[in-house]
């Protein structure tokens, strides 16, 4: 297990090197968020790689973006300006928040990427938006076919769906193991496994994650401090360690770097594009999408019951509006049902300060034994 984690660590320490190597055998399409139809991209011959910026210091971006843009868009831009993403053959922007949307413009105007935009519907609830979803997937498919000079048939799409279903199923298995047996693996490792799945060749990832699943000790242990984390992107291993060192366990999450990526599998069938669209509508939605006004609250409540959660940690990136808007009502709901919560705001998604550590530790102590 340790060996396997070492491999994962080394990829995550330098994801761009891994991708650069991979780019020698396959063109790579970077994408901005979990709404990317990875199966379709994969079937077109591209390797889909989710790019989460790495830069710790943002300075070149200041020429293009005000300081009140979130760290996710700023670091993504910074890495591109530093030419660290030159191994990409293309970049796909998904219509999510206002900031991402403008970042797409900034890329198009200032950088030399082959760029695609998938303008997703905002609501997933009506028949019109479902039809539109299918239409734009079809449009995207045609663009990819033209770009790669191939035809993407039903079989190759289904094959890609199967591959990504296997990848997602493994992630789901790991989350289930964690939730049933919180000590079996740390959330910090779990989160790394999810993040490496954004980067790695999917077949290679399925192989390594299957080995991990087989190696995890299955001794039962019950924790009384079962936590749920909510937010967008989080890759703070130190933060997770701080929490779990205090004898508490993060047994589930509602993150784009977590369950929102892999929950729900895609149906194999005669109309794979329809299946892909259906899956996006069925999987947990992020706050930039709409099913009904209660959705995010109902979802939170359901997860608390399902995973017997004792406390919730909101982990927000500063200036991230979609999550910030949901927060007060979510917090009120938790108060009503008697679940303690804490909100941690991170200025830069790679930096975690002492004060935050202390607040978190106090919160966990407060949860009692």
């Amino acid at each position: 297990m340790q060996e396997l984690m070492k491999t994962i660590d080394s990829i995550l320490e330098n994801p761009y090197t891994y991708l650069e190597n991979l780019s020698r055998s396959k063109p790579i399409m970077g994408y901005s968020c979990t709404y990317a139809p990875v199966e379709l991209i994969y079937a077109s011959g591209y390797h889909p790689a989710r790019i989460i910026g790495l830069a710790n210091n943002v300075s070149l971006s200041d020429v293009y973006l005000q300081s009140y843009a979130c760290a996710v868009v700023r670091t993504l831009l910074e890495d591109s300006l530093l030419k660290k993403l030159d191994f990409l053959s293309a970049f796909l922007f998904l219509h999510t928040c206002d900031s991402m949307q403008r970042l797409s413009d900034i890329f198009r105007i200032n950088l030399n990427f082959k760029q695609f935009d998938l303008i997703l519907p905002v609501k997933f609830s009506s028949q019109t938006s479902k039809d539109y979803f299918l239409d734009i997937l079809n449009d995207f498919k045609s663009k990819l076919e033209q770009d790669q000079n191939i035809k993407i048939g039903i079989d190759s799409l289904n094959k890609a769906i199967q591959t990504y279903n296997d990848l997602k199923a493994n992630l789901l298995k790991l989350y289930n193991i964690k939730s049933n047996n919180p000590e079996a693996l740390s959330y910090s490792d779990l989160s790394k496994i999810v993040r490496v799945s954004f980067i790695m060749d999917p077949v290679e990832f399925i192989n390594i994650s299957s080995q991990i699943i087989n190696k995890i000790p299955q001794n039962q242990y019950q924790s009384s401090k079962r936590l749920l984390i909510i937010g967008s992107i989080c890759n703070h291993s130190v933060l997770f360690e701080t929490i779990e060192n205090k004898n508490a366990h993060i047994v589930w999450d509602d993150l784009c770097t977590g369950t929102r990526f892999f929950d729900e599998l895609t149906q194999i069938g005669d109309n794979p594009l329809q299946s892909i669209a259906d899956r996006f509508i069925k999987r947990p939605i992020c706050p930039t999408k709409h099913i009904n006004p209660q959705y995010r609250l109902d979802y939170l409540k359901r997860k608390i019951d399902e995973y017997k959660i004792n406390g919730v940690i909101f982990l927000f990136i500063k200036f991230c509006e979609p999550h910030a808007f949901d927060y007060p009502d979510q917090k009120n709901l938790l108060e009503k049902i008697g679940i303690p919560s804490i909100m941690v705001e991170i200025e830069n998604h790679n930096i975690f300060d002492e004060q935050t550590r202390t607040r978190l530790e106090t919160f966990i102590e407060m949860l009692g034994e």
């Binding site: 020429v63 973006l65 219509h95 403008r102 905002v122 039809d131 239409d135 449009d139 927060y327 007060p328």
Partner: protein
């Protein structure tokens, strides 16, 4: 704002009457819909539903200088200091009823069109939970470069969906003849509004962007009603008279400036004076143009069919480079010497990309000035700093233009 435009009083009366009708809608047996400022309001008017605009209300709150106080209250409820202050002041005033008009009337339904931002979706979800009323989202796909056929089809389909929504909430059928009439009036109002703004082509300009910000209220709130067309006709006549008699809004107009982004509602007079001091007149802006910029996309005879596409093409729903193109056109049209860009903490879709727009403008030899602020939250405004920046900018302009 000096050299006062006389018609303004008439507009104030119209607005007062409108708000009174909205407040007492129930007594008139009418339903109230809250709608976003750039939303497709015409079907509401055709169905006799009274539209109410939280953003317009937010502007009123900002202008009366209580934006910071109301934002703070929302922050105490857990709303982040970084989110749009229109949302915060609306949330507060819907709880405490604080505002120049004692809060907005309660909605029977919410209509949210995301052609201005993603913020409104979250905002209307919050209010839909609070008031427990139905929410309709009119989803306008973003138009980075152009709208593709799928998007156009989606927009058309949603217009139908929107009408069924209204019919089911009101339990009434839409009268299509009435709809046609409202569509025509709406289009006419947009044309008149354009003519009003175009009066600023005159030198000196008979009006400034500050006047436009005030007179905008009608095209936003009552578009589709005859009263708007009539009012803008009166206003236009006054402006044309002023132009003929060379009465400028700024007495010694020497430098003609363009404003980008929302106004800073609580600093209008101060800003107007800060530029006037240097003989600068803000004669045009990108914000008020939004309510007439897409007029060419609307077909008077096929209003419902063409409405969606026009709404999807508004200024905030297009790519940054396209926005820059519009700015360049305005620079030409209004003979602009310099551009003032309000980098607005509240409004990310308006503000991100502005650095690129500024670079594109500068390449054409037009100087730019950035002002950091927020449209309603006074806490984000550093007066001394802004004053210094304006002074040095105007000095640069005077060196260029002499």
């Amino acid at each position: 704002m000096e050299n006062k435009i006389k018609s303004t009083d008439k507009m104030k009366k119209i607005m007062k009457k409108y708000y009174l009708t909205a407040k007492y809608a129930k007594y008139f047996g009418k339903k109230v819909a809250w709608i976003t400022s750039g939303g497709p309001v015409e079907p509401l008017i055709a169905m006799g539903i009274i539209p109410v605009y939280p953003e317009n209300h937010g502007a009123m709150i900002g202008a009366s200088k209580i934006g910071a106080k109301l934002s703070e209250y929302a922050e105490s409820l857990g709303y982040s200091s970084d989110i749009c202050s229109y949302v915060k002041v609306d949330i507060t005033s819907s709880i405490t009823r604080q505002s120049p008009i004692g809060g907005l009337p309660k909605p029977d339904m919410l209509i949210c069109c995301n052609n201005i931002c993603g913020t409104v979706q979250k905002w209307y979800e919050i209010q839909s939970r609070k008031f427990n009323v139905p929410l309709f989202i009119y989803d306008t796909p973003f138009c980075h470069v152009d709208l593709d056929d799928s998007a156009k089809k989606y927009l058309k389909a949603q217009t139908k969906e929107y009408i069924s929504f209204l019919e089911s909430v009101t339990k009434k059928k839409l009268d299509y003849d009435k709809m046609q009439e409202v569509g025509k009036l709406s289009l006419k109002a947009m044309q008149k509004w354009q003519a009003v703004l175009d009066s600023a082509i005159n030198k000196p300009s008979p009006m400034t962007a500050f006047d436009a910000f005030i007179h905008l209220a009608l095209i936003v709130t009552l578009r589709g009603k005859k009263v708007v067309v009539d009012y803008y006709e009166t206003l236009l006549k006054e402006l044309n008279d002023r132009a003929k008699n060379k009465i400028g809004a700024v007495e010694n107009e020497k430098y003609r400036l363009l404003w980008d982004n929302l106004p800073i509602w609580y600093k209008m007079r101060w800003l107007s004076n800060a530029f006037k001091k240097h003989d600068g007149a803000l004669v045009a802006d990108t914000y008020t143009q939004s309510w007439c910029g897409v007029v060419d996309y609307v077909d008077e005879e096929r209003f419902l069919e063409t409405m969606g596409e026009a709404y999807a093409r508004v200024y905030l729903n297009i790519g940054t480079d396209k926005m820059a193109d519009s700015v360049l056109k305005l620079i030409d049209k209004y003979s602009i010497d310099g551009v003032v860009l309000h980098s607005n903490r509240s409004c990310k879709p308006y503000s991100f990309g502005q650095y690129d727009i500024a670079r594109i403008i500068q390449k054409k030899g037009i100087p730019t000035l950035f002002i950091e602020a927020d449209m309603t939250d006074e806490r984000k405004f550093a007066q001394a700093q802004v004053e210094n920046r304006i002074d040095s900018f105007m000095e640069v302009l005077s060196q260029i233009k002499g």
